[in-house]
């Protein structure tokens, strides 16, 4: 070329630097997780006697303990039960509501939408004690459904906001054409509209699952004997015989797995989900 442009775009100039920065950041993110995983594969004597970067004698004893003891593995089962219940409830009721917000204007719509947002932002600590009293008085304390309903406080607003974000992207002409073709509202919604926003439903479900899964405060407050959650099980690793670090680490590793399994499928929507559908 006669008139020379700078040989490289400004963005490419930083290439090696980019790789260094990204590598450093990923190392920062990964070393603590690596430490947890490594600890879960060590015996307690090894944990307490040496600080080694890898286990000298690899043991799966800690995981065997968790899978062999019902007070441990039932913690995961119980947590999964209320998380799934909450996800199903949240997404089911959020779907029609999100459709209403994305398509119609009605009395109080903006206030309602804002009120939902305030519940997503509300500190769970404010609600811990009142929830305990509410669910005790209606006889739901220490049941899965109590935790599932309590998590609705922040998950329904989240689902409505995320789904509304996805539904806005579907052109209104599709609705109108379907009605002209003789579809009823229900038929249109189930047969035509839902398949169009299938990815949105997946993302909303994923985020409801996640936010219900990561909570400890409310689930711990609302359960005691019948429904022992994994968070509670983990606080009991300090026993009369001392702290069982290996077991604690193994339990921690197992809580990361559900998120790690599905993250790949939602990787392009993570930002959208966390930003309440606004990206």
């Amino acid at each position: 070329m006669a008139t020379p442009l700078p040989p490289r775009a400004p963005r490419d100039l930083g290439k090696p630097v980019s790789i260094v920065i990204m590598t450093l950041f990923l190392i920062f993110l990964f070393v603590p997780i690596y430490w947890l995983v490594i600890m879960s594969l060590k015996s307690n004597t090894e944990i307490l006697t040496s600080v080694a970067l890898w286990p000298k004698d690899l043991t799966f004893k800690n995981f065997a303990t968790i899978f062999g003891d019902s007070t441990w593995y039932m913690g995961y089962v119980n947590s999964l039960i209320y998380v799934v219940m909450n996800t199903v409830i949240s997404v089911t009721v959020a779907l029609p509501a999100a459709y209403a917000f994305s398509r119609y204007s009605f009395v109080g719509d903006k206030h309602l939408f804002f009120w939902l947002l305030t519940n997503r932002m509300a500190p769970p600590a404010v609600f811990a004690l009142p929830f305990f009293q509410l669910y005790s008085s209606i006889g739901l304390f220490d049941t899965h459904i109590a935790v599932a309903l309590a998590h609705c406080l922040f998950n329904i607003p989240l689902a409505v906001w995320i789904l509304e974000g996805f539904m806005r992207g579907v052109p209104r002409e599709i609705d109108e054409t379907a009605y002209i073709d003789g579809y009823s509202f229900g038929g249109f919604f189930l047969k035509i509209f839902l398949p169009l926003i299938a990815s949105g439903i997946g993302v909303a479900a994923f985020f409801c699952f996640m936010f219900s899964w990561v909570d400890l405060l409310l689930s711990r407050t609302l359960t005691s004997v019948n429904v022992k959650t994994i968070g509670v099980a983990m606080t009991r690793t300090s026993s009369a015989t001392g702290f069982d670090y290996g077991l604690l680490a193994a339990a921690g590793v197992l809580t990361i797995i559900p998120g790690a399994l599905v993250i790949y499928f939602v990787r392009n929507y993570i930002a959208k989900g966390f930003a309440l559908g606004r990206v």
Binding site: A100, F106, V126, L216
Partner: protein, 290 residues
């Protein structure tokens, strides 16, 4: 895009309205109820008016917890926002390496909050943790149980570890939406890297960055589980933030009146910030539609 006026849409919203009202309004009413009453036990309550609010407003405890909370939220914003932007700018733009980075970066966001606390507790201990023992070997003692500075640094580092990814992912999504033509134009103008950032990338990221800042502010403002597991609010009350203090008061000491008054004021602050967030966001949405 004008929306159709249709009052029947309320029927579609009704289930959400009822469920959220059940989980939000009834508990809030309980809190309001407690905040204006006093009791000597036996479930006998009597009217106390604004006594609790006055007591809380004049107590050092509330103000120092609020002070720590504001310092904490400000600190993590100052660190996480620039760091998140830097990470987003250096993220690979396409291909398998980009997917890999996306997935890896998102991982800390999906770890249960009590496990985040546990990870950092195990990682930072001087006897069994990699970080703690490495620093000890270099002559630095990390003792969050005794040293308030160490406890603070640990809580802040943990939060940076946990949530910087959120800022990075949102900014990355913002950057992805910039058309390639903008960069080509900048190249023709021989724009420096800095001016590309200042005049193209930053304005285009504005919207998402705002959401990231506000989400980070709100979530750090109600942080509970991670510092609770890591430091238990200590040493003393050095890392006792608003939520930790509130739970201590309500569930630990069962001081229902003061705790309720505390809750209401806490909630009002959240409401105010939420309103700012909502107003800014709807304005931005409107600008986009134009």
């Amino acid at each position: 895009m004008e929306k159709t006026v249709n009052q029947k849409a309320w029927f579609l919203v009704l289930p959400v309205f009822l469920l959220v009202a059940f989980s939000a309004v009834i508990p809030l009413m309980t809190v309001v109820n407690y905040s204006v009453q006093d009791t000597f036990g036996d479930n006998a309550f009597f009217w106390a008016g604004l006594e609790w609010f006055e007591e809380m407003l004049s107590s050092d405890r509330l103000w120092s917890a609020l002070g720590r909370q504001v310092i904490f939220s400000a600190t993590i914003l100052v660190i996480e926002v620039p760091l998140g932007i830097i990470i987003a700018l250096n993220m690979p733009k396409k291909g398998g390496w980009s997917s890999f980075c996306l997935v890896m970066i998102a991982l800390p966001l999906l770890i249960p909050w009590n496990v985040v606390g546990t990870i950092w507790q195990l990682f930072s201990r001087m006897d069994i943790g990699l970080l703690g023992s490495a620093l000890l070997a270099m002559g630095v003692e990390v003792n969050p149980g005794k040293d308030p500075v160490a406890a603070w640094v640990l809580v802040v580092v943990m939060d940076v570890w946990h949530w910087t990814s959120l800022v990075a992912l949102l900014c990355y999504a913002g950057l992805q939406s910039i058309p390639q033509a903008y960069y080509q134009a900048a190249r023709i103008d021989q724009a420096s890297r800095w001016s590309v950032f200042r005049y193209i990338e930053l304005p285009k990221m504005g919207g998402v960055l705002l959401i990231a800042i506000l989400l980070r502010f709100m979530d750090s403002f109600m942080i509970y589980t991670e510092p609770f597991v890591l430091t238990g609010g200590g040493p003393g009350s050095a890392t006792t933030f608003l939520s930790i203090d509130l739970v201590k008061m309500a569930v630990g000491q069962f001081d229902l009146g003061p705790a309720a008054a505390f809750s209401i004021m806490y909630f009002l602050v959240i409401l105010l910030v939420c309103w700012v967030f909502y107003t800014v966001m709807t304005t931005l949405d409107k600008q986009e539609e134009r």
